[in-house]
């Protein structure tokens, strides 16, 4: 059995001068290479839980293991150098340049100059930073740039574990979404073990392999994959916290390739008018998708457009305003359905080859199941 990367064993934290424990008897295993998002209302103990991992907060009781070693048996300074750390306000050092900021931990652990330099340049590539930015001070960067530098800095010494406390909280929603997408792509390659704290359930659903929903005292209400939490909330607390549009949120997690598409009415440009009308009749639709000889999407026609034409190719087919690919989410597909005249989403692969259609019925079956 593989050992969890981070494990909490009956951990409690009571701050002096308070009656209720911030964290009460928490046991939790976080698997290697997973992004686990701690989410819950403010004051639920999620940040306290995270900060006990690198001992910025010391537990009152219980044991926390990181990679098989009890954190309390390690020198906190050395422990922290092996764990990436990003906070909401980022906390770049204003008196150090971007390059110096990124180099902080590598310098602390004694990397030589050339190794640090090449590492910085690798990170610049990964995070799509502007190399000219390296010699600037944090005060000269935009919020989004600072955020990316903060995450790059946390990754600088390539730690196996990252702690992220609302790392994308301080930027506007559009930038936040871009940063989330970028980081998710990076994490797909790096497979770090990440503990991510947020109060935003949508961010949790987007970023997490697994979500821990915490109630007051860091009591675990549910620990599951995002899809499972949306499909099967374990308690009233969870369903209230997950909130409205649970079905839509679930659709965002399912890809078109995860479900079977329907064949749908499809005709070739070389097909005769009679054949095309027959296809429409068989499928009980007043329209059909037109593909070329290679099976690529060409457009769509309806029965009226065919009147007087000898074959499909002689009719100027209408273009699809939108279609979806196997990588699209069902939420995209749904959007395509409700905005298209044909009331279905056409599915094509990345080379525009026709794959089939998705109907409203097919998608709602997915929500109900």
């Amino acid at each position: 059995m593989s050992q969890a990367m981070i494990s909490f064993d009956r951990v409690s934290k009571r701050f002096s001068g308070t009656t209720d424990a911030a964290v009460e008897n928490l046991s939790l295993d976080i698997e290697r290479g997973e992004t686990v998002v701690l989410v819950g209302p403010s004051g639920c103990g999620k940040t306290t839980t995270m900060k006990m991992i690198n001992r910025l907060i010391e537990p009152s009781d219980g044991r926390i293991m990181v990679d098989g070693t009890d954190v309390l048996e390690q020198d906190p300074v050395r422990l922290r150098r092996g764990i990436g750390y990003v906070i909401q306000s980022i906390g770049l050092m204003p008196h150090r340049t971007v390059a110096e900021n990124i180099a902080t931990v590598p310098k602390l652990i004694g990397w030589d100059e050339s190794k640090i330099k090449s590492r910085i340049h690798a990170l610049v590539e990964v995070f799509e930073l502007d190399a000219n930015m390296l010699s600037r001070y944090p005060g000269e960067l935009s919020g989004g740039q600072r955020q990316r530098v903060g995450v790059a800095r946390a990754l600088a010494a390539d730690p196996p574990v990252m702690l992220m406390d609302e790392p994308f909280g301080a930027v506007d929603p559009i930038v936040r979404e871009r940063l989330q997408d970028q980081f998710r792509d990076i994490q797909k390659r790096l497979r770090k073990t990440i503990v991510f704290v947020t109060h935003d359930i949508d961010e949790a659903i987007k970023m997490a392999d697994r979500i821990v929903i915490l109630n007051k005292g860091a009591v675990i209400e549910q620990y599951d994959s995002p899809a499972e939490i949306l499909r099967n909330p374990a308690s009233d607390f969870v369903s209230r916290f997950v909130g409205a549009e649970r079905g839509l949120k679930r659709l965002a997690l399912v890809k078109v390739s995860d479900i079977d598409v329907e064949d749908g009415p499809v005709v070739r440009m070389s097909d005769s008018r009679e054949t095309a009308l027959q296809v429409m009749e068989d499928c009980a639709t007043p329209w059909a998708t037109v593909v070329d000889a290679d099976g690529r999407l060409h457009g769509w026609i309806d029965a009226a457009m065919l009147s007087g034409a000898s074959n499909v190719g002689s009719v100027a087919a209408r273009k699809f305003s939108a279609y979806v690919t196997a990588e699209s989410s069902l939420r995209n597909a749904l959007d395509s359905i409700v905005t298209s005249r044909t009331q279905v989403a056409v599915v094509a692969d990345e080379n525009d080859h026709y794959r089939g259609i998705l109907s409203l019925e097919r998608i709602s079956k997915e929500i109900i199941s």
Binding site: R81, I90, H95, E140
Partner: protein, 215 residues
């Protein structure tokens, strides 16, 4: 006045150097005392009240009274002069060092700790550099204050440019007193400007977005 300047040229030079020397020693010793006390008070907040209380008391003692009180013990010596001068620097220096450290952004401190800086590295690599503009302002203020006060030490045979002032009073020669006063003022203005420049060079990161110090 021009005539006076020419006549006393050599004497002015000597006194000018003496004035700077007395000031530099006072600020140097003041920093050596204030720095560890301020860092301690920053970390142990309980200590800050009593510390500023005592240094505030020293600050309020009239300088003349202090010299009168010290002379029986330490004589008409440089030690007497410096004890007086140093005691006036402490309040300003301690207050600015502590408030400079207090002003370090909490997020910079937290992320530095979270990345694994030791408490000592945190102090020297993050907290002090970020407190530098406010500390600089304190040193500048203390220096200008001491330059003014050095003239008083002429009463115990030191005093730099203050010697001209005292001599002017004794000989009822106003122009001599004015010479001493103006030269002391010029020195203060020059030193102030030099410090501002040094501060700008030492904290390039603070220039583009206006980190203001306590002056």
């Amino acid at each position: 006045m021009g005539e006076l300047l020419a006549k006393e040229r050599e004497e002015i030079f000597v006194k000018f150097l003496e004035h700077m020397n007395l000031t530099a020693i006072a600020i140097g010793i003041g920093l050596l005392i204030a720095f560890p006390l301020a860092v301690y008070a920053y970390r142990h907040k309980r200590f800050y009240g009593p510390l500023t209380g005592v240094s505030g008391l020293l600050y309020t003692i009239p300088s003349l009274a202090l010299f009168a009180f010290l002379t029986p013990y330490t004589g008409l010596t440089m030690v007497t002069a410096e004890i007086g001068l140093v005691s006036y620097t402490l309040l300003i220096l301690i207050r600015n060092i502590v408030s400079g450290l207090d002003g370090v952004p909490e997020d910079a401190r937290e992320s530095a700790l979270g990345m694994g800086l030791s408490p000592r590295q945190l102090l020297w690599q993050v907290e002090l550099p970020l407190a530098l503009p406010v500390i600089f302002a304190g040193i500048r203020l203390a220096t200008v204050t001491v330059i003014g006060l050095v003239t008083v030490t002429s009463l115990i045979t030191y005093g730099g440019l203050g010697a001209f002032i005292l001599e002017g009073i004794q000989k009822l020669d106003t122009s001599l007193s004015i010479l001493g006063g103006v030269l002391s003022l010029v020195l203060a203005v020059l030193v102030d400007a030099a410090f501002r420049r040094a501060e700008r060079i030492a904290t390039p990161w603070a220039q583009s977005h206006g980190v203001s110090g306590m002056t």
